[in-house]
Amino acid sequence: MLSESFLKSLVGLRLASTRRQRGALMGERRSARRGRSIEFADYRNYTPGDDPRRVDWNIYARHEKAYIKLFEDEEDTAVSILLDVSKSMRWMAEDETAPQKMERAAEIALSLAFIALSGGDRLVMELSSGARIGPRRGAGAMAHFASAVSRELARADATSMPINTWLRRYAATSPPGMCFVVSDLLDETGYQDGLNVLATSRAEVSVVQTLCPDELAPRFEGDVRLKDVETGAARDLSMDNATLRDYAQRLKIFTDEAQAFCQRRGGRYFLADTSQSTGDIVARDLRRQGWIV
């Protein structure tokens, strides 16, 4: 799903936390609580900006390579990446040559996963089908996560929980830390309750809402019968400019509300157009947003 070259381009990136940024530990790795525990966890390569006091000088003396010691935090923070694999995410646009929404969302989620793993974070991934992958840490776990996600996506009998149910369920068992939700948020029963519960479970919630071009700017014409892939409900519509303008207006309200909702709860929100490349979304847009440093 993600090429080796693309993953190499992500090396050195770190997931940034807004809560850490509000603190005084500028330039620290995201999970800055690490280092306060005495339990050694792992090494990682030194990157400019790291605290020199954390360099293992013994290794440097032996190998002339700088490594940073990682210690377990007593609170055991982790990075959670929740990937929505519902039917609305799996919906295929008419133009099958264009990148599909599910594929792009999975790439975004795995890119965040790689950044977390390569940053020494403990990673858990959960899909809305209920499948949980991890916790694992270390870059070497990336293949495990990637293959697991691929297997889940390939399942023909895949089911999916409603977003609220899924997020509430995860919130009940999730460790504190950073939580990334990759979803289109298009659910009959809504998403606010679930996000609310997740946000109040001491998890720092960041939402990447993935929408494809056919959802952002549909180009339907004439008289159509729209069929919801999740509920099966049908609606007869005559597409005209007024109807499309109406939809655009409602979409903007929907996304604005989602953004406001996340921000009110101390979280972050990003609307990703899945027609953009994963590199543009992750390495460019999310970096601009400050999610990745």
Binding site: D223, V224, K227, D228, R235, L237, D240, T243
Partner: protein, 612 residues
Amino acid sequence: MNILNPLALLFALLAVPIVLLYLLRLQRREQSVSSTLLWRQSTLDREANALWQKLRPNILLFLQLLTLAFLVFALIRPYINQPGQTPARTIVLLDASASMLAEDVPPTRFSAAKKQVSNLIDDLGANDQLALILMGASPRALSGFSASKAELAAALDAAQPALEAANWGAAISLAQAIAQGDENTAFVVVSDGANADDAKLLTGNVKFIPVGANGENVFISAFTVRRTVRGLAAFVRVNNSGKSAASVLVSLRSGDALLDARTLDVPAAGSATWTQNDLDPALPHLTARIDQTPNAAQDNLAADDAAYAINPVTSIRRALLVTRGNRFLEQALGALPGLQVTRVVPSVDGLTAGQDLSGAVYDLIVLDNITATLPSNANVLMIGAGAQFSSTGVFSNTGFVRAEASPIAQNVDWRGVNVLEAQHLAPPAWLQPVIQAQGGGLVFAGDGASAGLGRVVALPFDLFKSDLPLQIAFPVLVANSVDWLSPAQGLALPASVKPGEVIALPGGSQVVLPAGASMAAPDGVFADTAQPGIYAVQTPRGRGYFAVNFLDARESDTTPQPNLQFANANAQTQTAQGLSQRELWNILAALALVLLTIEWWVYQRGLRTRKA
């Protein structure tokens, strides 16, 4: 802007099947979406009425309906008037026949037609000329080519219709004579198109302005009176040229006295009859009248609602002709109305000279070279009277000298009459010559009461020895002699004439018109017969009547004919003012074609967008 073909508006109903087909053929393309969450919110606001949703503005439907609208507008043939294109010379033929008096177009068709002509006059350009012909039984030019609008308007004002059929052939000949073969002359016919079989004789540039809305008319098409053994019998036939049956009240009157009335149910385009017997045989005349129709709109012409009939002659004069054979004399006597001639031939009937006719009871006895014993007070016409009266010889200088002022010699032109020889009568004093020749009297007349006779007219020569029977003077002389010898109980008047017809009346007649006015007919002709009705004639010899009737079923059938066939198949029919029309159908058809192209392009664009 006006339209020539309003019926084409019915094609606008095609919009109904177009919309229906659009609704029926509405096949929705099924489209799966990730979620109808945001769409549902949209449709909840807009899904108020499913049918109206279907009919929400759709560019294709709009273009199709607009195309249909332009095509319908083209079919109704709208036009605008362009006075600048008026032909330089125009001849207007204005129908003045009886059907133009119909009131289906208020006040009358003729008034509406005059209005149309007035508009034509008003639209004349500075260099345009117009001639006006009134089409009646005798078409006449009200005005030659004139550019003066005032002059033309004055000529038009003088135009009046008449109770007669228009002579289209004569009117067209007159128009073509006025046109003098100029191909640039346009003809404009303003008419209801009734009885226009000869319209096809009109060639050239012809425009037809029809007037008339409908043919709803009930009228009397026949009215006759005859004598029967039980008195007078009257026959009335009422026709209905309308599209629905009419129930009419018909009355029979004599003067102001109502004799009888009957309600007749006349079917549409049909007729009904009424025969009334046992009428008083002494009635001088009868009137049949349509008094009432339930719906005034069913009777748009009032002039044909009455008919008049004169009681046939009440008495017959009986004449005895004694002759060995004289075809001229027999024919002259037989042509006289009301004279019943009995001929006896001496050789056949055993009558010999000197036959005693004293027992014969006749109003008049005609002796043709016969001598006989006559009954007392007999009125006698003696031809070859030398044997009946004493004669002093014969004379042959029979050149005409003079005619006396006698009713017998009235209108008898003796000039040119040749008599071989005549008896020189020595008549009694009561028998005087009325026509004198050089040698003596040729026609004698007198009252023979002193001789035990009645009136006597005597010709002292044999008709076969003269060319008098071959001259026009002979039947006139015979008629005058018979009338003088045995005056008719009534006058020899025609029973019925058409309006405008000229009739001959006895000299010195006084005619009382139906309206009550009295007119003299000193010259023996009377032409003031425009008004239908009973005309009373008073002459020195008595009183009589004649009727003027407008009985013309073809004119009374007021069904207008808006599509007359002229020689030029491309003759235009126009219903509006102005001498020229600029039709707009070609522009509208071109616009419809453009819209069709746009509609195709929009449809194709939609297909490409869906495929993208």
